[in-house]
């Protein structure tokens, strides 16, 4: 056996091993026809890191779930994650890169409205798809963006209505305080228009803005107390500050001895994650409004919470496994909506997927059925009003009977 050298032995065994192993490698890829890429545009550094960062993992979790069931159109999903570092122009740049170089089938991303506004021209130019999971100020309608969460007409207005009604606190006066950028300013403009239409005089509201990342709320809370003491009906605070300003504001508010029953705060961007680290006992009763709350009832939610907890444990995700927030669920819904549309269209082409949107419905963790119509890329969802409890979460104080039809453009601005 002169030709039996060590090298040839290794070669043969190597080949044999490869041949044996190849079906395992090739078959799923062959049967699945390769992978299809999805892109994530969520910051895992900078001011938005704590809340926005977890959405990357939720998208991956949803993709894993779909893959486990055989993928979409015979292809498995692959999630590409990026970090735009809470730097608004970077969102557009990375989005462009993902659409043009990585050829992602859809983008999932953005938290602040300003980041969405920077990505908008990019997705329109490249004819891409962006699923946007936050509730926002509305007044925008692009065929390239799927607005998975709610415009003000189906989130903020029902909550304000509730507070102005008998069941709420019969609110008559409003102190608006927001971070100084597009979302708070637009929301407040719409609210003022809404109150005007209800015959509430201009003297019944006051507006204040603070820089992003502002933390010294002492003077502003003093102003709120003075505003409330002027009499003339029940005052409430409409809070549209974002990021780390939310806990800082709440801390000062509680510290000056103001209870929710004296002056309730309606925090429009306040989620469960903002209460982490706060002593919420003196804050019990303050409100928020979203299309999902962690305490929503129903099996779907129980399953979702368990899935997230398991995912966090299995993948060593650096976020809490027992905290779920609306944008997480909306991101999760987004991936499923996209997958359903792609399946219905039997294609990953953006135009085909878009054509499949009308009539789609998905039973999300919130307990409502999400529906899409042919009119626009808005999704109809339910509305929750949450009330802060002492366990750093929200109790469901009120929820809509069914999902209101979304109105993209506000008649009040």
């Amino acid at each position: 056996m002169s030709n039996f050298t060590r090298r040839s032995f290794l070669q043969t065994t190597g080949l044999a091993a490869a041949a044996l192993a190849s079906p395992a490698i090739i078959r799923p890829a062959h049967a699945a026809g390769g992978t299809v890429k999805l892109g994530c545009l969520f910051s895992s550094s900078g001011t938005m890191a704590n809340i926005e960062g977890r959405l990357n993992h939720v998208v991956k979790m949803a993709a894993d779930e779909i893959n486990a069931k055989g993928g979409v159109n015979g292809r498995t999903l692959e999630v590409a994650v990026s970090d735009p570092a809470s730097d608004w122009p970077l969102y557009a740049q990375i989005g462009k890169q993902m659409l043009e170089q990585d050829k992602v089938a859809a983008l999932f991303g953005c938290w602040t409205s300003v980041s969405r506004k920077t990505v908008l021209p990019v997705v329109e130019q490249a004819n891409g798809l962006l699923f946007y999971p936050l509730h926002f100020e509305g007044d925008e309608n692009s065929k390239n963006i799927v607005y998975v969460n709610s415009p003000p007409a189906s989130s903020v207005l029902p909550a304000v209505d509730y507070l102005m009604g008998d069941e709420g606190v019969s609110a008559k006066r409003f102190f608006m305080i927001g971070s100084d950028y597009v979302w708070p300013r637009t929301i407040n403009k719409q609210l003022k228009g809404y109150w005007k239409s209800k015959g509430i005089p201009e003297t019944a509201w006051k507006e204040q803005y603070v820089p992003l990342g502002f933390s010294n709320f002492q003077t502003i809370v003093n102003q709120i107390r003075a505003f409330a003491d002027q009499g003339g009906g029940k005052p409430i605070v409409v809070l549209t500050v974002v990021g780390s300003s939310i806990p800082d504001f709440l801390r000062e508010f509680a510290n000056q001895g103001i209870k929710a029953t004296d002056i309730p705060v309606l925090g429009l961007d306040m989620v469960e994650a903002d209460l982490e680290g706060l002593n919420t006992e003196p804050l019990v009763g303050h409100l928020n409004c979203w299309a999902y709350l962690q305490n929503a009832k129903g099996e779907k939610n129980v399953a979702f919470l368990k899935q997230w907890a398991d995912y966090v444990k299995a993948n060593n995700v650096p976020f809490k496994g027992d905290v779920a927030i609306d944008p997480m669920v909306s991101a999760y819904d987004s991936v499923h909506l996209w997958a359903m549309a792609a399946k219905k269209a039997n294609s990953f082409d953006v135009n085909e997927v878009r054509k499949a949107f009308p009539g789609l419905s998905f039973d999300g963790p919130s307990g409502y059925t999400l529906k899409m119509t042919a009119e626009n890329n808005y999704v109809s969802r339910g509305v929750f009003i949450g009330s802060v409890n002492e366990k750093q979460g929200f109790d469901v104080l009120w929820q809509s009977k069914d999902a209101p039809k979304p109105v993209p453009f506000s008649p009040y601005s």
């Binding site: 960062g53 507070l163 606190v169 002027q230 780390s244 001895g257 209870k259 650096p318 809490k320 109790d395």
Partner: protein, 537 residues
């Protein structure tokens, strides 16, 4: 139909167990309301309040824990009534017999309006039934603001029964103040006096409403009383506003000072622009948290004092990091200030990410000890809040200690010598290298203390340091590089101006205007407010 049956069953159980049929029926009715919808929950709240005013002693004692339990969601409604979870025990509300709730059970959630009603009811009941003076005083304090909407009898009955003389007087005062709209003009004048004793905007609103009252025109004595009250309250509010502005300015200044003092020492001595200063503040706060967690595990009885126990730890840990930073990195870059700026920036990014990987990005949970919780209303709308007071006192003590170190110790003497003329100081035998290192440690340690002082006020997370860097640079540059007096004066000035501008033009404008003022000032005096005499250039 089912509800009816439940009610009947309730009634029957109630009748069997209670002494009087009427009381039993009333209690069962109340219970039905407690387990009903939002509107009937509201009724239940009102009934509880009226029980506090004119219910029998038995009824009041029975009702007292219910209001609290509903607020805390410890009342569970089930098919056969409701049970109350108090501590370890679960008792049936009607029979007071121990029993577990039968499934399905639910605990009613109060709407905001009902929460207000129940808070009032709870306080009203506590006013009549709480066994200790402190409990009754707290209840009275809660009721004070809502006195006008409560039954007049409540305070009278409570005062009659009260054994503590001081509290009794307070109760009578509250009852008097509540009589502002009574039919008797003498009572109204007494009420006006009571109200103007605590001048705030709420009182002013209440009293101003009387200017349109028919009695104001008709009764000269009443008119005089109203006018007097308006003047007194107006004066009180004005004083309160001035004090509040000063206090807010001072507390903001103390925060700016704490953030800037470490930077001033480092910048002033070595000309190193330490961009990692904010992260050292952040680490100080994290060390404080670690101390808190350590105490929670090993000495829970000292937990409340973690802010004080953490002082040396926060200082030493950040000082050690500062010294290490100086020894490893910065000493190579003293002659290249731009490089040292970049290097400290890299260090700041590194520290942020290190903390993020170790602790996560969420805000840390801090216990708020009693000495930094709440505040005391002083006069007008001015509330003296303890967490800000803590920051002010902390800043003053830090200032005193830093000043002491710089002026009274050999190290301070050396630091000042090196600051004035590095080469000459080296020539006369001062160990310049060691002074550099220790000064860097001192500056970093001061940043750590700032983190500790800020933790009861701001959220603590890996990003928190970035908020302070710009502010502290403003202070240091305005004050004049490296002077303690300059830092103090600049912090006071910026803090006070900020607070003055904010209510007028808003927080955004305040930031911009302060920045413009600093730029304008530096055009006129580029060295800042105070200049160290020296021959560095």
């Amino acid at each position: 139909m089912r509800r009816f049956c439940v009610a009947v069953t309730l009634l029957v159980t109630a009748c069997a167990s209670s002494q009087s049929i009427a009381a039993g029926a009333q209690r069962a009715d109340l219970l039905g309301k407690l387990c009903g919808d939002t509107a009937s929950l509201g009724d239940a709240g009102r009934i509880l309040t009226s029980l506090a005013a004119d219910g029998s002693r038995d009824d009041r004692l029975w009702a007292a824990p219910i209001a609290r339990a509903v607020i805390d969601r410890k009342l569970r409604c089930d098919a056969s009534g409701a049970v109350l979870v108090s501590g370890e025990k679960t008792l049936d509300v009607l029979t007071q017999a121990p029993r577990m709730p039968t499934e399905p059970s639910r605990s009613p959630l109060l709407s905001l309006k009902n929460r207000g009603l129940f808070e009032t009811a709870e306080a009203a009941l506590a006013l009549r039934t709480a066994p200790d003076v402190a409990g009754r005083a707290a209840a009275l304090h809660t009721l004070e603001r809502r006195a006008a909407s409560l039954p007049e009898k409540l305070f009278e009955a409570a005062a009659e029964q009260e054994s503590d003389a001081e509290l009794k007087a307070q109760m009578i005062a509250v009852a008097q103040a509540a009589a502002l709209n009574s039919a008797d003009p003498l009572k109204r004048i007494a009420a006006l006096k009571q109200i103007s004793a605590t001048p705030d905007r709420r009182a002013l609103t209440k009293v101003s409403a009387l200017l349109g009252d028919p009695a104001y025109a008709a009764n000269p004595a009443f008119k005089r009383a109203v006018d007097d009250a308006v003047t007194t309250i107006g004066r009180g509010i004005a004083i309160g506003d001035v004090l509040a502005t000063l206090y807010n300015g001072l507390s903001f200044a103390s925060i700016l000072f704490m953030a800037a003092i470490g930077l001033a020492v480092i910048f002033g001595l070595m000309g190193v622009i330490n961009l990692a200063q904010g992260e050292l503040i952040m680490i100080g706060a994290y060390v404080t948290w670690l101390v808190q967690e350590g105490l929670r595990h090993f000495a829970p009885m000292l937990l409340d004092y973690y802010l004080i126990i953490a002082i040396p730890v926060a200082f030493l840990v950040t000082a050690a990091i500062g010294i290490a930073l100086e020894a490893i990195l910065l000493r190579h870059l003293y002659r290249r200030p731009l490089m040292s700026l970049l290097a400290t920036w890299a260090v700041s990014l590194f520290l942020i990410n290190l903390v993020r990987v170790t602790f996560g990005t969420q805000n840390l949970n801090f216990v708020t000890p009693f000495y930094v919780t709440g505040g005391v209303p002083v006069i007008g709308d001015f509330i003296f809040t303890w967490n800000r007071m803590f920051a002010i006192v902390f800043a003053v003590v830090t200032l005193a200690l830093t000043w002491g170190v710089m002026r009274l110790t050999p190290l301070g003497l050396n630091i000042r010598a090196v600051m004035q003329n590095r080469t000459m100081a080296g020539c006369i035998g001062i160990p310049v290298r060691r002074v550099d290192m220790l000064a860097f440690g001192l500056g970093s340690g001061l940043a750590g203390l700032a983190g500790l002082a800020l933790s009861p006020i701001y959220s603590v997370n890996p990003q928190m340091g970035q908020n302070f860097v710009i502010d502290s640079f403003m202070v240091v540059v305005l004050g004049g590089v490296g002077t303690i007096v300059g830092t103090v004066v600049a912090a006071l000035g910026i803090g006070q101006i900020n607070v003055l501008i904010e209510p007028l033009w808003g927080a955004v404008a305040a930031k911009v205007i302060v920045l413009l003022m600093i730029i304008a000032f530096l055009q006129w005096r580029p060295e800042g407010l105070f200049v160290i005499k020296g021959r560095r250039k």
